[in-house]
């Protein structure tokens, strides 16, 4: 309620100064029990707010940002924003109405803030179990984080408020592999959390392999991408090619109805999927979140728009206007840019186990290193493999030796090379990363 009161009061007190105002506010708290070096430490974050302000005046746009829910400081920030405005095509900010309802809140998670002893005990148990099984671990990091957040977007024409909780547990062993649990609700059974590290350890191959040892150097190879890795590649390379602004400025070669992938692939950009933590009633501009079928059976169906690119392209906003920070930008200071929201990919019909067992010699990749340096203008990447395993005779065999493996690919056709999504297999099973629900992907890639 505090956010709503602040927003309403600030809008009321500045309405004579501006033609329109937009507030994007985040506030919340978190409690973390972190396991490192056989110790459990606790940390908290309380009452941290971030307030991004945009104003419109005489066809120009201004911005400012503050961290205190203080109306007087808010008024100063609005006045400062008006000191340096720039021309914009925006005539007014969003009319916020009939936004979808997203239920990402669980009172039981919020109640855990009052039961820190229980959280600590779960973390202790995770630690006790892994060290009881493995005496000579090089390193083990893990922990539990509970968080509560409130989000508000308001303009002169409406307000959207939502609250969300999250329960996150994670485990990393010997700095070579990790696993996690994330959901907005409290786990029904804490056994899975307590066994997170042990289960991870049990799946870890004990030996390592280099490309020379596997005799794959310079060759094309069957690669299974873990959903985590698949999501990273899509977020790094896909967005830049499907944003409305990229289309408008000639930074993408793609056209609607282009065949960009195998007909097995359907990608949906969604801000409203009830199982994704990334869902919210509106984007950061107050436009209602939507479900956008981006690629259907391999064919590009739409570009994604924020308010500005929609106006310039004579389209409706697709709910993709987010304050998307790049590098060290602060979220509230970041400009509104188009951003892929949650991703949902329709699963395939190959069982995951069969996908693996069909491979005589290949690799499984969970995480890449240096993907952020990928060539977005060409939608191509070359990255070191951070976490991966060899697949030999249909089974996980050895860990991919650190620093020895690179992977490269191009998302779409490039310089005569076929796009990596053209020849694929998708697993029947999917995995929820919190921001995407994706199947496992089998592709052919080179080193």
């Amino acid at each position: 309620m505090k956010l709503k009161k602040f927003a309403k009061e600030l809008i009321e007190k500045t309405k004579s100064l501006v033609d329109d105002i937009e507030l994007c506010i985040g506030a919340g708290k978190s409690l973390e029990y972190e396991i490192k070096n056989k110790k459990i430490s606790v940390s908290l974050s309380l009452d941290i707010s971030s307030i991004g302000i945009r104003v419109l005046k005489d066809g120009k746009l201004g911005s400012s940002a503050i961290t205190r829910l203080d109306v007087d400081e808010g008024i100063i920030a609005v006045k400062k924003a008006l000191t340096n405005t720039k021309p914009t095509v925006l005539k007014q900010f969003a009319k916020i109405e009939n936004s979808p309802v997203i239920d990402n809140f669980d009172q039981d998670v919020l109640d855990l803030f009052d039961n820190p002893v229980m959280l600590r005990e779960v973390a202790e148990e995770m630690q006790t179990r892994i060290y009881a099984k493995v005496k000579d671990l090089e390193s083990f990091e893990g922990g539990i984080v509970v968080a509560y957040g409130e989000r508000l977007v308001a303009t002169k024409n409406g307000l959207s408020f939502s609250k969300e909780t999250s329960f996150n547990a994670f485990a990393e062993i010997n700095s070579i592999d990790y696993d996690f649990y994330i959901n907005y609700s409290k786990p029904k059974d804490f056994e899975k959390i307590k066994n997170l590290a042990i289960d991870l350890y049990n799946k870890l191959p004990k030996k390592q392999v280099t490309p020379s040892e596997l005799d794959v150097k310079g060759k094309e190879l069957e690669v299974v991408l873990d959903p985590m890795c698949f999501e990273s590649i899509l977020r790094t390379l896909l967005g830049e090619k499907v944003y409305g602004s990229a289309k408008e400025h000639g930074l993408t070669e793609l056209e609607i109805n282009d065949v960009v992938a195998s007909n097995k692939l359907t990608i949906i950009d969604t801000g409203i999927h009830q199982d994704l933590l990334s869902s919210s009633p509106t984007d950061d501009e107050g436009n209602s979140s939507k479900e956008n079928i981006l690629i259907k059976n391999g064919i590009l169906k739409t570009f994604l728009y924020d308010a500005v690119s929609a106006l310039k392209s004579n389209k409706e906003p697709t709910g993709n206007g987010m304050r998307r920070p790049i590098l060290a930008e602060d979220r509230t200071e970041a400009p509104v840019r188009e951003k892929l929201r949650g991703l949902y990919i329709k699963p395939g019909n190959v069982p995951y186990e069969k996908m693996l067992s069909d491979i005589d010699k290949g690799i499984y990749v969970k995480a890449l290193m240096g993907l952020h340096g990928a060539d977005k203008s060409r939608a191509s990447f070359v990255a070191g493999i951070h976490i991966g395993k060899s697949i030999e005779q249909g089974k996980f065999a050895r860990l991919l030796a650190p620093g020895a493996w690179n992977l490269s690919g191009n998302l779409f056709d490039l310089d005569g090379k076929k796009g990596m999504l053209k020849d694929i297999e998708l697993s029947k099973e999917t995995f929820n990363t919190g921001s995407a629900i994706l199947p496992w992907l089998k592709v052919k890639l080179s080193f």
Binding site: V42, E73, M369, A404, N406
Partner: protein
Amino acid sequence: MEIRDENKLKKFSDFALNHVKDKVDYADLLIENISKIETKLLPDGQELVVPYSSKAAMQLRLIKDKKHIEVSLGMETEEKMKDSINTVLKILETGKPDEDYGLAEIPNPKKQKYGKQLKSDLREIDTSNKMSAIIAGVKELAEKISKENKVEIKPEVWFFSQIEEKIIADTQGIYKTQVLPTTFLQVFVKVKKENKMSQFRMREADIEEISLVLENDKLKPKIVEKIKDVMDKAIKLLSARELTKEELNNLTHYVLTPSTMVFVHEAQGHNFEADIIKEGGSGLLKSNGKPIVEKIASEIVDIYDAPLMENGKFNWDKGFGSQYIDDEGVEIKPVQLIKNGKIVNKLHNRETAHYYNEEPNGRGFSELGDQRVVRMTNTFITPAEDIKSQELDELLKDVKLGILLEGSLGGQVSKDGMATSLQIGYLIKDGTLTKIVLLPANMAVATRTALLTAEGFSGEVEIPDGGFCGKAGQTKFVTDGGPIVKIRVSDSINLAY
């Protein structure tokens, strides 16, 4: 170097410490207050300005009966803060003692004021013209060079200038402040010609005011030259090629320029951070603090985390990663990490210094009220004592088939390795640097062995690019660099297209 509204911030500090002093054995806090201006030119041509950003937060640490807790707090009202601290005290009670936990003493406790005297406080002046001049300057260059080369250049700009004020105080009477300006400019260029596209990036960053990049409200000639160079390289990349498989297989040397030295930060530097060492996450040192291997580089190699030397002294007034005190109030010392290829030191915050019973060296940093973790400042490779830098021709003369690499788009680290995307390469053949331009490549580096085959250096040590290091969900300004370094090809460095 006075904090502008020091009394206002000090009131919060005094309130928090007074509220807890009888309830805990020890408490310390950090207040960070950042005022920033920012302007951007987006790929779609939109120009955005944030003429006002004001952020503040507190990090409070409480210790009682060997139990400890760290908390990030907003700074709204004293009443709110009191409620929050009471919640924290309750959670502290539920903890368990950690017998190994402790904090090293803060050296030079009496000294209070640190930082730079501001010449022109961005909070007091109208910066509109200055920010407009930056965008206009870049656009003008893009237009001119586009015409000259018959290509389409789309520049993206990110500029910010900020003043960070901080207070570090504790229940034992420590009270220290620092005022530090920082300015950063990035120009990211995308070039298009027919169906071909390429990109290149430049940065200029230092602990300076806006005058780092502007002179009389115009881009400084030095900056103009750097931007032209970036556009020129992006154009060259339109006709660049990959190394052929045969060339890759027969490569004898990598020649790395200062702007590619992110691998020194990632592959070497992180492994010297004592919190990572303590957790068993370092690829170079065991959790007991002893090196895993004796030698990790050839004898000609030294590595420092420090500012650059000027006239025989470390100049703390320069370097995007430099500060005078860390976020625990410890004066930052230059730290030699590697001497003649061997590990000699670690980077510490107060907690790890206590744990290893070593001197704190001022590497405990926080991002706006977050937990203080061990961080680097400016990390660079340098020729060991008595090793001379050569002329470039001399350095290259025995390179049968090599690649000279320039520019990095940042790196990512794992325990045993790192990877970075390098922006451009030039082929070296039979001792001569050719004009054959090579496309961006990914370099994967194995931490323990990559520098064992370093063979020589050329030019001065430079830390040309400012960067942002991510750790524990936080970002810190850093730099990395060195002179030009020649490294013989081994299995420890892999280049891929």
